[in-house]
Symmetry: C2
Subunit: 460 residues, 2 copies
């Protein structure tokens, strides 16, 4: 059982914490301001889909069409999409549509028959790791991938206790929810789970200080595991710390902590559902920019551009104790159509050079945001790598307290200015700018102008 | 903790039990008989996908194309598909392909934006339950559906202890694996799980006797739960008892047991991944032919004809304690493309009247099989409903011991005769005939002739 300090998730220099149930969500009190059509759709959802379903925005958007980094609502209004990483190579990318249509017309079975495409794709995917990871298992969602990965790590180490960061969200199955501290307000956490603070480069002031604090936290967690009689299974982490507030940090920032976990006998699971597939620009996988050597890599969202496919890749030695003793089978996982979608995505990333595009465009985007910060002291920090950027809003330039209300107002004002995005971090005060990868340098002025207006309209 | 008798799964009149790791699987010892191409694909799989991946048949099939109830291998050889329920409305059904292509070309986002199609489909799906089930949550796989359903049932009842049948397989997540006694050789079962025998109509001799025994087993399990200080969560069951050996029984056979569970405060989860979507012919959902009133219905495989979509449908009252307190979100679940696939499947089932087709064709199929049993005493039982049929093989007409080796030989001989199927049941001696629903009366003679030849060639 974890000690109290390793469970309550209090963070260095940060007192405000919002619940995952708050944030960018429509609430019943917003209903009077809706159009008749929106209100009708909202009511129908509530009636047939039930209370777990949440909508973005006080005035939810009915999106009906998309292309590249743009979407259109039912009234034909065009929006710049700064949020969606699932249509990673662009909304409705014709190459992915064509690949799926072609394979669906031919065959869609499962992996208990031979099919060459899954092997070609597996070979192709494995080359992206450029390391000792040599096997891959296909599933349908990032949640299924992390559910499997956590069990693979436990079987390999014989340990039960994982370490995760304090706002991490790794997915929705029972096991993965119990390893997602972001849900700790409403879900029981795994009794063996230890929670560590993310390397908050903003509040620690530098990547070096944040990395050192992260190392100390991970060491304390391992010590706690061992002294309590539990046994270390490993560390599961998103190397961009997405739900924690986006802290890519300097390359290598978290390397010492990760190496400590391996040195103490745990596995390292890199959850690449968010940073993977070229988004960070500096490398194909987020962990690579930190020079890490994970035992297991999981992926999901961007892998099929919206077609449900995900994967667990691992060193064969790590996979063997689980995979060699279980007839794990995933009916849809790696079926020929899913593989066709994934192969098309990988081909587009390379053919359109989206990794270098993400690197360059992300730098330009953050340069523009930093310039904007000069006239808006509420922008406390602009951080990111590639096309993954966090803009942290604070009351003014002197305090690093989270400006949650402001951030929630700003995303509504951005929506009114035809720019879609959302918030992240424990206090929901970090704007999460994570557009489809075709987001272009030409799109930047629209965002900057909209954000300028949104901040001003929100009183910042 | 469950008593020993409720864990070891010994079954009335049945001594042989095979591991889930045996059965219809390629093994390394079969490699010398393979063609160079098949051997190469098998080796590549082993290298990049690892040891969990299993192949059907001593001589695996490389399927490259499908249409209706037919598939073709890489050499152009045509097979009659008696096994696959995922391409439920037929391999590569053009209406499903067109619906997916159309929606993928437009938009593929997620349920935090409004989209009308999910509401239309939800309304449409909810009418099929024709009962108090009034809400539905969309996920990607049957495993995700059952993982969510088990938690919904626990939140509603406050209990932990579920009852499942002795060879049930409900999916692959950590929680669902722990509630899948078919995996008990290789996975730890949930400490609170109680296992009951399925209503084996063959060995009990009648549906009445099998139903009475099932009722007694369920009562004993509930008594055991209560006397041990655990609390009943509910019963999860596939009303066709697919993995247990296929025991549809007479309509109503299991109704008393199910009503007992509800009377004692548990929820009933009907896992419709196998019998649902018109397969049984007598009703749209398998549970309906038994006159049941489940609290939760889960589905998966046939829902999108191979597109990964699944669902948990429930009474809103049952869903509320879980769904009202958790921000459960499934990124791909219910996305516009998944919904388009599912809507097309539902439309095809109705437009092509596949439910009545399944009923009539299944009856004709079993009539042909029963006639064949007259000349092959190894066919101990032919049972089923709609297009879901079990053919149980035994040594001869006098013993009901399972003829496992014979069944495994027969499916290989069927494969050689261009008919694909597999086995189920605790001893892997029940031929599982579960074709795509367009399987036609005209296909029956080919199957009967192939099975006649396969039995003879296998010495039966």
């Amino acid at each position: 059982m974890a000690s109290t300090e390793l469970r309550n998730g209090s963070r260095h220099g940060l007192t405000g914490k919002a619940s995952i149930l708050d944030g960018n969500s429509f609430r019943a009190e917003n209903a009077p301001a809706l159009t008749a059509r929106t209100d009708s759709l909202v009511q129908r959802r509530r009636r047939v889909l039930g209370p777990a379903y949440r909508l973005f925005y006080r005035n939810p958007v009915e999106v009906v069409r998309g292309r590249g980094s743009r979407v259109w609502d039912a009234d034909g209004v065009e929006y710049l999409d700064l949020y969606n990483n699932v249509p990673s190579v662009g909304h409705a990318h014709p190459a992915v549509v064509a690949a799926v249509q072609r394979q669906m017309s031919l065959l869609n079975t499962h992996t208990r028959y031979l099919h060459e495409a899954i092997l070609r794709y597996a070979d192709d995917l494995l080359t992206t790791f450029a390391g000792p990871i040599d096997q891959v298992m296909f599933v349908c969602t990032g949640s299924e991938a992390n559910d499997l990965a956590l069990r693979v790590g436990r079987a390999y180490t014989g340990g039960q206790a994982y370490i995760a960061t304090s706002e991490a969200y790794h997915g929705n199955t029972a096991l993965v929810s119990a390893h997602s501290p972001a849900l700790s307000d409403c879900e029981p956490m795994d009794p063996a789970l230890r929670v560590v603070d993310p390397p908050d480069t903003y509040r620690y002031g530098s990547s070096d200080a944040a990395g050192a604090a992260f190392l100390a936290s991970v060491r304390a967690a391992i010590d706690d595991i061992e002294s309590s009689g539990d046994r270390l299974a490993g560390l599961i982490l998103d190397t961009s710390f997405s739900s924690d507030g986006i802290y890519p940090g300097r390359p290598g920032m978290i390397r010492a902590a990760v190496e400590l976990v391996r040195g103490r006998g745990g596995v390292v699971i890199a959850d690449e559902v968010q940073p993977g597939f070229a988004r960070t620009g500096e490398s194909f996988w987020g962990y690579q920019r930190h020079g890490l050597d994970p035992d297991i890599v999981t992926t999901g969202k961007p892998m099929g551009n919206g077609f449900p496919i995900a994967a667990v890749a691992a060193r064969s030695e790590v996979l063997a104790p689980f995979a060699g003793t279980r007839p794990y089978f995933n009916t849809f996982g790696g079926n020929p159509v899913a593989i066709a979608a994934a192969q098309a995505v990988l081909d587009v990333i390379r053919d359109d050079e989206l990794q270098s595009h993400a690197l360059a465009t992300g730098e330009s985007l953050r340069a523009g945001l930093r310039e904007l910060a000069g006239t808006h002291p509420a922008i406390g920090d602009v951080r990111g790598v590639g096309l993954y950027t966090g803009v942290e809003l604070v009351p003014d330039g002197t305090s690093r307290e989270p400006a949650t209300g402001l951030a929630l107002d700003v995303i509504e004002e951005l929506r009114a200015r035809r720019v879609l995005t959302s918030v992240c971090g424990p206090a929901n005060n970090v704007l999460k700018l994570r557009p489809p990868l075709p987001f272009a340098a030409a799109d930047i002025p629209q965002l900057i102008e909209a954000l300028d207006g949104a901040l001003t309209a929100s009183g910042a």
